[in-house]
């Protein structure tokens, strides 16, 4: 993360001329990404209004069907509507990662800002802890947590939060360190404001774009990790609809000759992660400009 030296007001001068239409400024790909994410998240939030069927009610006469007018994305091994399960599945699939990112960003912010602001031994201790956490693969945290607390969405969220906090802390510490050297901070000092006020009122708002970029980039990985854990049978438990679980049960259906479910769930995950990645890239180029 080199050259993350910009604050909000400074980067405004780097923006393209005002004449360019807003969608050009954002870019076509990020725009598509926003639309995809909005559709997926809204569908998950309003699932009861949008989903054509109850995601858990089986229809044994309609099991293992391909796409049709009644079931646009086919049905699973029990005749449950795949589209409805996809829509409801978005809830667990997306809620878990969002909670992980919120928690790890808040923790990372506290650790990162404390380290950068206080410096000295506090910085050394925090940085060493972060370094050690870094040298253990992220999914290992999730696995150990599940081993201790038992399989379930909650355990996985706790484990991944521990795994993701060091990333957030390291990026935020870097940003906060650079910001701390800026003249406006010294000016505030001279005005006699307290350290915590300056950190809260000036520093944090100025590194907000950086925090956002980091959080969005991490969200993609969190979706992958959580869905992987559910796929392994360690996260969300059946029969709750979930994209990772749908890939798992869809594989069995594919062995029985009906690959629609596994393809649908796979595409949904890849599309969401892809959209998040594009958006994350756009946000971090904005920050790095």
């Amino acid at each position: 993360m080199s050259g993350v030296a910009t604050s909000m007001d400074q980067s405004s001068s780097d923006r393209p001329p005002r004449r360019a239409p807003w969608w050009r400024r954002v870019g076509i790909a990020p725009l598509c990404a926003i639309v995809i994410l909005a559709v997926m998240i809204l569908a998950a939030v309003f699932a009861p209004l949008v989903a054509p069927y109850n995601p858990n009610s089986p229809d044994l006469l309609a099991a293992l069907q391909g796409p049709s007018a009644a079931h646009p994305l086919g049905t699973d091994a029990l005749g449950r509507d795949t589209l409805s399960r996809l829509i409801y599945g978005g809830r667990t699939t997306l809620l878990g990662p969002i909670v992980v990112i919120l928690l790890s960003t808040v923790l990372g912010l506290l650790l990162g800002v404390a380290a950068a602001w206080r410096g000295g031994s506090i910085d050394t201790v925090i940085s060493r802890i972060v370094d050690v956490l870094f040298s253990i693969p992220g999914i290992v945290f999730a696995l150990v947590t599940v081993a201790i607390l038992g399989a379930g969405l909650g355990s996985v969220v706790i484990g991944l939060t521990i795994a993701y906090t060091p990333y957030a802390a390291r990026v935020i510490r870097g940003g906060a360190l650079r910001e701390r050297r800026m003249p406006y901070i010294s000016a505030a000092w001279i005005q006699g404001r307290s350290g915590s006020t300056i950190a809260r009122r000036h520093l944090v708002p100025n590194i907000r774009p950086l925090i956002l970029a980091q959080a969005v980039a991490a969200l993609g990985f969190a979706v992958i990790d959580l869905a992987s854990m559910s796929f392994l049978g360690l996260g969300v438990q059946p029969p709750t609809p979930d994209w990772g679980l749908m890939v798992k049960s869809g594989l069995d259906s594919a062995v029985r000759g009906q690959p629609t479910e596994v393809i649908v769930a796979s595409v949904a995950i890849a599309l969401f992660v892809g959209a998040v990645t594009v958006l994350g890239d756009r946000l971090s180029t904005g920050v790095n400009k």
Partner: protein, 317 residues
């Protein structure tokens, strides 16, 4: 800083990491609801024999730090404890599954190097349509999780076209490789895309440098310039990425082995978690961490060898 000092410092740091990791793995037992004994016994019938075995294995009657160091000493002597489920030494459980995981990681690494570097160099030197195709391919690969890719590979190449076996590890070297092909692809693809992206960007930036443009304008053969100046300098960031990627693969096998039902360490780990067979969990987690940390160390050393301009004082761990 001198070389020996640099190495000593790095190895010491590595030992600290491993010590902390082992403390975390051992100590996490005490966070389990109901305490370590009830956790380790789990839903099994708490027969006196089982309680005695578990108590002895984890030294549960001693104070915490004593317990921890006794356990650590056992581990350092190669005694990883006994599995409560398989009624067998953990070390022999691991030994019999190690080869599959190793083969898978090596196979995936070869694929990553071939595909990642190949497409990266190609895209950077050709630009134009080729560059855009590779960029698009990389973006798609990066957003597809390994288990999703594995599932799709099974659906298309094993169930649909029937070119590859659906599941299992196979027997005999050739057959094993054949069985491991789809898993290795699933494991390698996103890392290959990342490597491709980094190497392409790195080459592009080297190509734009003054000395390269000068060499070209003086009429030196393009191939020579690319080989002598561009690729050598561009290799520095690439080595880092390769190293981190291999370290990441070790964790990635956990997922991929389960998709393809391979009998490696990753599937053993997941089964052990589901069965609450904590001795096995501890051993594999420690092993994964050791490999992860060792690979990072090797990368650091290589990095400083390839680029003597870098100081040996860098504070990155």
């Amino acid at each position: 800083m001198s070389w020996p000092r640099f190495l000593v410092k790095r190895v010491l740091a590595l030992l600290v990491v491993l010590l902390v990791a082992s403390l975390l793995v051992y100590g996490s037992l005490y966070l389990a609801p109901g305490g370590p004994l009830s956790f380790l016994v789990g839903t099994r019938s708490a027969t006196p024999e089982l309680i005695a075995q578990v108590t002895a294995q984890y030294h549960l009657n001693d104070p915490f730090l004593v317990r921890y160091f006794t356990w650590l000493a056992d581990v350092l002597h190669g005694d990883l404890g006994r599995s409560l489920v398989y009624r067998e030494a953990v070390s022999s459980l691991i030994a019999s599954r190690f080869l599959t995981t190793l083969l898978l990681v090596v196979y995936a690494t070869v694929l990553i190097l071939l595909v990642g570097l190949g497409t990266g160099i190609w895209a950077a030197l050709r630009r134009g349509v080729a560059g855009r195709v590779v960029t698009g391919w990389n973006a798609a690969s990066l957003s597809t999780p390994a288990f999703v890719l594995g599932a799709l590979l099974i659906v298309v190449f094993a169930l649909g076209l029937g070119w590859f076996p659906v599941y299992g590890s196979g027997s005999g070297f050739g057959d094993r490789l054949w069985h491991l092909t789809l898993p290795a692809i699933a494991l390698a693809l996103s890392s290959a895309a990342y490597l491709s992206r980094i190497s392409s960007a790195s080459i592009t930036s080297e190509m734009g440098k003054e000395h390269v443009e000068t060499a070209m304008s003086r009429g030196l053969p393009r191939k020579l310039v690319v080989r002598r100046h561009v690729l050598r300098n561009a290799s520095i960031p690439v080595i880092t990425v390769v190293g981190l990627t291999i370290a990441g693969l070790v964790a990635g096998t956990v997922v991929v082995e389960n998709v393809f039902a391979l009998d490696g360490l990753g599937s053993l780990l997941v089964r052990a978690i589901l069965q609450r067979d904590y001795a096995v969990v501890q051993a594999i987690v420690l092993l994964l961490t050791i490999v992860f940390v060792l690979v990072n160390l090797i990368v650091d050393v290589l990095y400083s060898l390839v680029d003597p301009r870098l100081s040996l004082d860098g504070d990155a761990l």
